[in-house]
């Protein structure tokens, strides 16, 4: 008998059972005991659907039309619902991307893990509890007695994901499916969760099917890798072989798009003109109250930055570090508590919304989520010309400019009368950039502007930003959690933690030779830091 835990043969999944609408086209995959197979692909590649098919959880409009999925020789496709129910948790279990929504918010986490045992084992109540606590200890949760009684919202993102892992592994399944389990987590937490999954795999002898879009994560955790593109397998290889010697152009492109962790050198300082400066900018939430003061949260403290014309200043940090608060203060979407913000030589921190209006055209913002940053009910052209119209540009002139701008960002000018849902995520982000540029701003604030995009699209958008910056002399304030992205496009970098600036300097210095412990820890936690993906070799072998 073979040593394979999971064997997927020629799996085809189609929409409404229609042969012509296949979303997974002939997937072959097998995982041995104790191995991790990474399924890699961009959005729409069918990687999550393959996992859901294995769990028997496909949405009803999708169905497998051919092939087989065997778990230890047992066919899962077409298995009776009762058998599938029994197999989930005992044979195969799954963890998801967003642990907050995967856990029931009104049930204590300990009970949620125990529930699995209740359905799948004959243990008594006290034995169950003991087993749950053991499992929680296993996933390295602190203070497990207290954790057991906690609700999901009382835990951090990493802790919640640990609970999910404990829940998935409590019945010792032979196969663990992890669908982007670290995508929603900070890098340091991500590193811990990856370590935990590796550890448990060895300890429990389970096979892992790990779904991700992140080549860095792949290099950290995979034994074998399968690359998917639009439902088709591009290649399957051992991880080392794949990273060194990818067989297909698609994989090569994917690897080349991965932003390298090695910072580029700062560009020649062209102009000394400061387009954006803040001085001791602070934002405090709370601290007010009629009878009792509410708790104060210092979201940003003493932030002093300088952005020159034509340069890119990056702010990196984990969630809750205050980097977005700084961006929102600068955009005056929230009012700063104290400090000054100078744009175009004028302090805008204390202007009223009315006084601010004429200044607005000097600074514009691009948001993270391309789905929500355009009003779904109005044509994109109307979105783009909204700002110019506010400043008295005649309609026809603004519309002509909108067409030009769309072409500038690589879309047909005729797309002005289309609605946002008719564009892909990357296209929408281009439109959002066009909208920001319609005002001819001096400063562009990009708040995680590429974080929601696939890596190849991300590379294109970054390229576009760089090109526009070159041409228009924009100062870009780039907010990101991704050190690789920051390393590739920033001249200067600020590292923030808990609302404060930890380190501030040229990108090459901050990311290359960090001085502060926190920066060092961040860089150390970044997945795939040893690999120079774009050149298909580890950094240690670089000439």
């Amino acid at each position: 008998m073979s040593n394979n835990i999971l064997d997927i043969n020629n799996l085809r999944i189609a929409l409404n059972g229609d042969e012509d609408k296949q979303v997974v086209k002939g997937l072959n995959l097998s995982i041995e005991v104790g191995q991790t197979m990474c399924l890699v692909g961009e959005s729409g590649s069918g990687k999550s659907l393959s996992a859901l098919a294995t769990m028997g959880l496909l949405p009803s409009v999708l169905s497998p039309i051919a092939g087989s999925i065997e778990l230890k020789g047992e066919e899962l496709l077409g298995a009776a619902p009762a058998r599938m129910r029994a197999l989930r948790a005992t044979g195969v279990s799954m963890i998801f991307q967003e642990p907050m929504t995967a856990l029931n918010p009104v049930v204590r986490v300990g009970q949620q893990i125990e529930e699995v045992l209740e359905f799948h084992s004959n243990l008594s109540k006290s034995e169950r509890r003991k087993r749950v606590l053991e499992m929680m200890e296993h996933v390295h949760l602190p203070d497990i007695e207290k954790m057991y009684r906690s609700f999901p919202h009382q835990l951090s993102g990493g802790q919640r994901q640990r609970i999910m892992i404990a829940m998935a592994l409590v019945m010792r399944p032979q196969l663990l499916i992890a669908d982007e389990p670290t995508t929603a987590l900070d890098v340091t937490t991500q590193a811990q969760i990856l370590k935990l999954i590796r550890e448990l795999r060895e300890e429990q002898g389970a096979a892992v099917l790990f779904i991700t879009h992140d080549m860095g994560v792949v290099s950290e955790i995979a034994d074998d890798v399968t690359v998917l593109k639009l439902g088709e397998v591009m290649e399957t290889q051992k991880v080392e072989a794949l990273l060194r010697n990818p067989q297909t152009e698609y994989t090569r492109g994917l690897l080349r798009s991965v932003p390298s962790q090695v910072p580029r050198m700062a560009r020649e300082l062209g102009s000394q003109e400061i387009v954006l400066g803040t001085d001791n900018l602070c934002k405090t939430y709370g601290g007010k109250g009629f009878i009792k003061k509410s708790r104060e949260v210092k979201a940003a403290q003493d932030i002093s930055i300088k952005l020159m014309k034509g340069r890119t200043l990056g702010i990196v940090g984990e969630s809750g570090s205050g980097k977005s608060t700084v961006a929102r203060c600068i955009m005056r979407l929230v009012d700063p508590t104290s400090g000054s913000i100078t744009i175009g030589g004028k302090d805008i921190a204390n202007l009223s919304q009315k006084e601010l209006k004429p200044e607005r055209k000097n600074f514009q913002i691009v948001f993270q989520d391309p789905m929500r940053s355009l009003n779904p009910r109005i044509e994109v052209g109307q979105s783009i010309i909204e700002g110019p119209l506010n400043f008295g540009v005649p309609y026809n002139e603004a519309m002509d400019r909108a067409r030009e701008l769309l072409e500038l960002v690589g879309l047909p000018g005729s797309a002005v009368d289309r609605f946002p849902h008719q564009f892909s995520g990357g296209q929408r982000q281009r439109i959002a950039i066009a909208r920001a540029l319609a005002m001819d701003p001096d400063v562009l604030v990009a708040d995680e502007a590429v974080s929601a995009l696939d890596v190849s699209v991300q590379a294109q958008v970054l390229e576009l930003l760089a090109e526009l910056q070159e041409r228009l002399g924009l100062g870009i304030l780039f907010i990101t959690h991704d050190l690789g992205v920051a390393a590739q496009i920033c001249d200067e970098v600020i590292v923030m933690q808990r609302g404060q600036i930890v380190e501030y300097g040229p990108a090459a210095q901050v990311l290359g030779e960090p001085q502060q412990d926190y920066t060092k820890a961040l860089i150390a936690a970044a997945p795939g830091k040893h690999w120079d993906f774009a050149n298909f070799r580890p950094f240690s072998e670089a000439p």
Binding site: K361, F367, E386, G387, N390, R435
Partner: protein, 296 residues
């Protein structure tokens, strides 16, 4: 730049008429409801021309007759034809229903936008709304009518005011979630005025829920008007309304129960039809439905 030629999906558009027809034929029940409603509305509009007898003229000779070939639904205590009175009564009921729905939605939309977008106004407005909601709507309506005297206008106002708070709350909650959307923030960053942000970005988000809420208000207003008339706090008894007819028939219930039952049946069926249609509109406008439509 190296990138694939952008392919952009073509425009899609469904006309309002097509959409209305899609809703009306979405299920047999909704179809029947639409037909009934259409009959009620048409007969109310053309009432003076289609009534078989004069609904106002008293004919003591034929009082309290049971249904017959001449008087299909019988006559009331003054010998007036019941069917004619019900048809004419539908005018007032429908006008009250539609008008209070429109007024309540308009006022509620304005107040809700202010409460949702202007933070300092929010607390003030919402406490007033809470206060208003604490008073039973029938009681409030009776109080208003007895304060100003009964006429079509006072009845309209009396029915509309208690409906406003619910609309304000609905609009406020929609605005609160919509104003956090990045596209609204992008509009703020582009220097768009508050009034324009409301008109362009916030109001469209409230339209679908408001249409649905409007149908429910319409149904509830027709019922409230009938109740007010029945209690004698409604429109002048000379004007036939469904409530008035029932109120007058109450005394003669044992002699001719039809005077109460027929208008009652018409009220029930009309309200049921409006509510069913409201549900169908809700299903059609549900964002999840719309999304499915796009994917198709």
């Amino acid at each position: 730049m190296t990138q694939p030629t952008p392919t952009v999906a073509p425009r899609d558009h469904i006309s309002a008429f097509k959409r209305a027809r899609m809703i009306a034929t979405s299920s047999p029940v909704v179809f029947v409801a639409s037909i009934i409603l259409m009959l009620v509305v048409l007969s109310a509009i053309f009432a003076p021309w289609i009534v078989p007898h004069d609904p106002i003229r008293l004919s003591p000779a034929v009082r309290l007759k049971p249904p017959s070939d001449v008087y299909w639904l019988g006559t009331d205590a003054y010998g007036r034809d019941l069917l004619s009175r019900i048809i004419l009564g539908g005018r007032v009921s429908l006008v009250v229903g539609v008008a209070s729905a429109i007024f309540a939605v308009a006022v509620g939309l304005g107040l809700g936008l202010l409460a949702g977008y202007i933070r300092w106004l929010d607390a003030v407005l919402m406490r007033m709304v809470d206060g208003l909601m604490a008073i039973p709507s029938i009681l409030l309506a009776i109080a208003i009518v007895s304060l100003w005297g009964a006429s079509l206008w006072t009845v309209l106002v009396a029915i509309t005011i208690p409906e406003v708070p619910r609309v304000v709350r609905l609009v406020r909650s929609l605005v609160l979630s919509a104003r956090e959307e990045p596209y609204v923030e992008a509009a703020i960053a582009a220097g768009t005025s508050t009034a324009r942000i409301m008109r362009r970005h916030l109001v469209p988000n409230t339209i679908a829920p408001l249409i649905i809420q409007g149908t429910y208000i319409c149904a509830s207003a027709i019922l409230t008007e009938a109740i007010l008339s029945f209690l004698g706090a409604g429109i002048n008894p000379e004007t036939p309304t469904w409530g008035n007819i029932m109120a007058e028939g109450r005394v003669y219930f044992q002699i001719n129960p039809g005077i109460v039952m027929w208008p009652g049946l018409v009220v029930s069926v009309t309200i049921l039809s409006i509510n069913l249609l409201g549900d169908a509109v809700r299903d059609a406008l549900d964002p999840r439905m719309a999304k499915r439509g796009i994917e198709r």
